[in-house]
Point group: C2
């Protein structure tokens, strides 16, 4: 639980990440039997060292409304499974055709395209199984869990992440206006980030007005996060990020800086962070991690 | 509702298919906006004319335990979305590389590989959203819905369909023993077919012993269905099936007839159908459609 007092965000993020990593590392059974390559491929990508931002946001969302962050761990992990599946499919040759992810060969480079495709499918499906685990339903009423599954499936599906991904793929090499870039970012990245923090608030027992405020926070933070990704792709250090910088431009990807310039993109990003923190004004100190995570998003180096 | 009296299976299947088709045709919003190609691709494959066996089994499972088959329609449709996603991904160049499905060009031939991949992802995700729709939760208690989501996600994921798919891909051109072929069929096809009828029985309010019997029925019927698919691939008429016959052999696919011979495969299939009907002995006339569907599976021509 989050205790009153000054927040050391580094410690907070490290502690939460350790909890999530621990749960993810022990999630799948030992890989043996006919489909062992599938389990190895799912684990390879899942345990390749992400920031675990979405699970941490889910837990921080639960804490902000006074809920128990340990109880929401299955959904926090499910969000990371969904995020990982989307990365595996994004990296496939028919999509972004990337060889490196987080400094390691991408799933299809190691296991081949067919197994990578199926590993993504397996992670997405398993995410929904995780949301129905007794470890969650022992603590949270079933109708609240159903509400969360609705939220996450909408955010991850054609109305959200998958819809944004289509626009991303189709936008390569085109000149687009800001509204389409915003649609793409809000759907491709913002929707799942917003659903992560909102699902924590719902499962943690937040009331309607709290959930509404958290969803607004999530949308703005999610968009700021994607803009910072765009900026990092231009200004970031390849070694720190584990992937080549400048790859968006090479691929003809449409980004915020490409459309409005890097200086204006940085301004928009800062405005979004301030506005997202403003959404949390109704919350007390328990929302302090969320406030700091919003600031961290624009200050991070990878 | 199923009424007492002789069952005309043709009428039963046609009526149920019409209900499912009607729901699927109106499910997605009109395709406009930036991600319209995605909606078009999902609908293209979803409405390409399947038998709707899984949705019909779900509704028949509900009827068998005295439940209302209309109430389970969202889950029945969700099962067809999952089945359709699996076909789209199966047909991709990195998997089976098929150009035709149900007599029409496959999704990636029409929309390209990237959109087809994302259409599959979108359908799978939307399936889980459908399972949480108020149209279902207005009639079924939330803890029962959660139980169904667990069942379906296990059957569709790495423990089930996706796991079987990996073995299928890896088995091409190899000599395998019967136990691996059985593992593959039970997982790739049997698991979701079994979950279809079982989810109907659970949502329809079946008790534990009824659900157990229905699950046994589903497992045997599902395996019989896959064996009949293997046999149809050898003996079927290409025009009736909407795909080339003999394609399994050409691809070096491992099938039941390839391992134990076509005559023994037919015997096993008949034994499975009889055993699956035997599982239903505790049920009254309301399970008559399930009994007839089991027989239909070995007699069908496509």
């Amino acid at each position: 639980m989050w205790s009153k007092g000054p927040v050391d965000l580094r410690t907070y993020l490290r502690t939460k990440k350790a909890v999530v990593d621990g749960a993810l590392e022990t999630h799948f059974p030992e890989a043996n039997g006919p489909s062992s390559d599938l389990i190895n491929a799912m684990e390879y990508s899942l345990l390749a060292g992400g920031k675990r931002l979405r699970p941490i946001l889910c837990m921080a969302g639960a804490e902000a409304v006074g809920g128990n962050e340990t109880h929401v761990l299955p959904v926090a992990c499910a969000l990371e499974l969904i995020h990982t599946y989307s990365l595996i499919h994004d990296d496939l040759p028919s999509m972004d055709d990337d060889d490196l992810r987080r400094g390691k060969p991408t799933c299809h480079k190691v296991f081949g395209e067919a197994i990578a495709l199926l590993a993504g499918d397996g992670l997405l499906t398993e995410a929904f199984r995780l949301m129905t685990t007794p470890e969650l339903s022992d603590h949270v009423p079933p109708h609240v869990i159903l509400k969360t599954i609705t939220l996450i499936s909408e955010a991850a599906g054609y109305r959200g992440m998958v819809g944004g991904q289509v626009v991303d793929i189709q936008s390569e090499g085109k000149t687009l206006d800001l509204s389409v870039v915003e649609f793409m970012h809000n759907h491709k990245t913002g929707a799942l980030i917003s659903a992560s923090v909102a699902s924590g608030a719902i499962l943690g027992g937040g009331d309607e007005s709290q959930i509404k405020a958290i969803i607004s926070y999530g949308r703005k933070t999610g968009l700021a996060f994607q803009i910072s990704d765009d900026i990092l792709d231009i200004e970031g250090d390849s070694a720190t990020m584990g992937k080549e910088s400048g790859s968006d431009e090479k691929k003809g990807k449409i980004t915020y800086p490409a459309v409005i310039g890097i200086n204006r993109a940085k301004e928009v990003q800062s405005e979004l962070v301030e506005a997202s923190i403003e959404c949390l004004r109704v919350f007390d100190h328990k929302a302090e991690p969320l406030r700091q995570i919003a600031r961290y998003i624009v200050e991070r180096k990878k």
